[in-house]
Amino acid sequence: MDMSLQAKNTAYSEKLIQGTAVRTTGGREIWNILALFCWHALHLTFIVIAYVATIINKSWSLLFAKESLEKSRASQRKKPQIVGVVIESEEAETEMSKVCKLLMWLADVGVQHVSLYDMEGLLKQSKRSLEKTLGNLNTQIQLVSTWEEHEKWTSESQSTEQPIMTVELLSICDGKEGIAKAARYLCANTLQKINSEGQHIDLKLTEADINRGLEAAGCAGPEPDLLLVFGFTRCLLGFPAWRLPFTEIIYMGMLKSLTLDSLLNAVDEFSTKNQRYGK
């Protein structure tokens, strides 16, 4: 009798505890919903502010077009020689003509080498068609697969005195995977040295060693002066990191909405930046 009463009592108290628990989580939920509502409101106001700001900016630049002329004169001082381009794979598929246009504009600006990157490697897959369209456009643009090939082309072009811009196609497997390949090469190399010469394994590595390994793995490339990032977000999307220590990164928005003006603006912006290299 006593036992059953006790059991009833504990059951009741448990129920009570559960009830309060439900009530508190309910309260917290309302609180959370309120926070979420405020959060959305905050984001909305920021979007509206950003939209208004761009409209004001655009009308401003329309009113004062003179200034941009002066800017382009200033750009004659420093020009990017090597340019990296990051595009989203979705756009690489649909905006192939725009990619060709971008390459032509870059060639006109005086760029010598372009490292064209998309994550999934769709550009690599459609290399043939890209080559064809560029050929039809009758341009001095040459697709290459490695950096060494670029040097071959430039040395040839010097003899014909026609400036050639080379384009290298990159994908995600040229990035970190490239460094892993280089590391494998270096490991194998030292292993052989140990086997043949009996050297100790505690040899120090240097940056030059990694570069040598990257060359052996076919993933070596120059450090771009300027990296143009196209797409929805400011994100490098896995562009080979080893090449980017001091590269100037400029976010360009969607490739679809690229115009010659915005590209020239980016080049101008690049020319006004000064690098200190840590000094």
């Binding site: 959370n32 926070a35 979420l36 405020c38 959060w39 905050l42 984001h43 794979s89 994550m119 999934e120 995600i172 497997c173 990035g175 970190k176 995977e177 460094i179 892993a180 280089a182 590391a183 090469y185 270096l186 490991c187 194998a188 190399n189 030292t190 292993l191 052989q192 086997n195 043949s196 009996g198 394994i201 505690d202 120090k204 590595l205 240097t206 940056e207 060693d209 990694i210 929805f232 977000t233 400011r234 994100c235 490098l236 999307l237 896995g238 562009f239 990191a241 080893w242 980017l244 220590p245 001091f246 590269t247 100037e248 990164i249 400029i250 930046k273 690098q275 290299y277 840590g278 000094k279």
Partner: protein, 318 residues
């Protein structure tokens, strides 16, 4: 320094002479600011918050020059800014903050400036342990990462002490990168991976063939590379980076208007949202941080989608 002290004294005197009313107004204004801060934190944490934030603190010297002070004194203001930003970050629930305090490249600066920076670093690292105010309050594990052997003896000792004292803290992590460059980090990681793999290989080799049998030179480089395929990988290198326990940052903030990585976390920031503000580092406030996180939250769904694409890409390749 003396001059600065005098200025400070004067300010204190002015504050003491202030009337009761103005002091009241000041404290009310402060309370309202704090209330607003709390409120914004509450709202923002309703959305996704980055776990790991990296900060490139640029513009200290320009700030000092703009205020017509000696260039090196800007770093003191930079330190103050860092402290309140760290507080904001940990209040927001960010678990790990990485700051680029000193680059190996920075040793090229004038001897005077390097010396002041080193003194400041030592002083602040020691203060971190002495008071233990913020470190214990938030349960922060402090890590000084980089080529520590390049630091002066006293600074290195201070760094090691700070790391040892805060080792047990688990709530949050503060990575101070000094003196660091990302390329050096990658080189070191590759070096360590190589060391591990080769010692393992030699051990196996010695077990089979006895001590140093030099007869079998037949393994050509390509075969060796093939044998290393499974042991020397991207993940293995990643495990040997300084940030192995915090993962990659989701948000990278750079102040004073330029977007360069300046050799900071190159490997780790390939899928990081890059936020740039024209504000100089000493002027960086809570509101700039709010703006950065709002921008990150806007980009968040797309970044997640990209990461999913990457995963499927890797599994397809494998």
């Amino acid at each position: 320094m003396e001059n600065k002290c005098n200025v400070f004294k004067m300010e204190v005197e002015v504050a003491a002479r202030r009337s009761f009313v103005s002091r009241c107004i000041a404290s009310i204004a402060f309370a309202i600011c704090e209330l607003l801060r709390r409120w914004f934190i509450w709202i923002i944490t309703a959305g996704p918050i980055p776990k790991h934030v990296a900060i490139i603190m640029d513009g200290n010297r320009r700030y000092a020059a703009r205020r017509q002070m000696e260039k090196t004194s800007g770093h003191q203001f930079g330190y103050d800014s860092l402290m309140h930003t760290l507080r904001d970050c940990f209040d927001l629930g960010i678990k790990c903050v990485s700051v680029y305090a000193f680059s190996i490249e920075n040793f090229k600066r004038s001897k005077e400036e390097v010396a002041t920076l080193m003194n400041l670093m030592q002083e602040k690292l020691e203060a971190l342990i002495e008071k233990e105010s913020m470190v214990t309050e938030y349960g922060i594990r402090v890590q000084v990462l980089g080529e520590l052997s390049l630091l002066p003896e006293s600074v290195r000792r201070a760094a090691e002490k700070a790391m040892a004292m805060s080792r047990g803290n688990e709530k949050a992590v503060l990575n101070i990168f000094a003196p660091y460059t990302s390329t050096q980090e990658i080189v070191k990681a590759v070096e360590n991976v190589r060391h591990e793999v080769l010692t393992r290989k030699i051990e196996v080799h010695e077990k089979i063939h006895g001590f140093h049998s030099q007869d079998d030179d037949d393994g050509s480089i390509t075969e060796e590379i093939h044998g290393l395929q499974s042991s020397v990988t991207e993940d293995e290198i990643e495990r040997h980076l300084y940030t192995a326990d915090c993962g990659e940052p989701q948000l990278l903030i750079r102040t004073s208007g330029e977007i360069r990585l300046s050799n900071f976390l190159l490997w780790q920031s390939s899928f990081t949202f890059l936020y740039v503000t024209p504000v100089l580092w000493p002027e960086f406030s809570f509101w700039q941080l709010v703006k950065a996180i709002l921008d990150y939250q806007k980009a968040y769904p797309l970044l997640q989608q990209k990461k999913r694409q990457l995963k499927s890409l890797i599994s397809r390749n494998a």
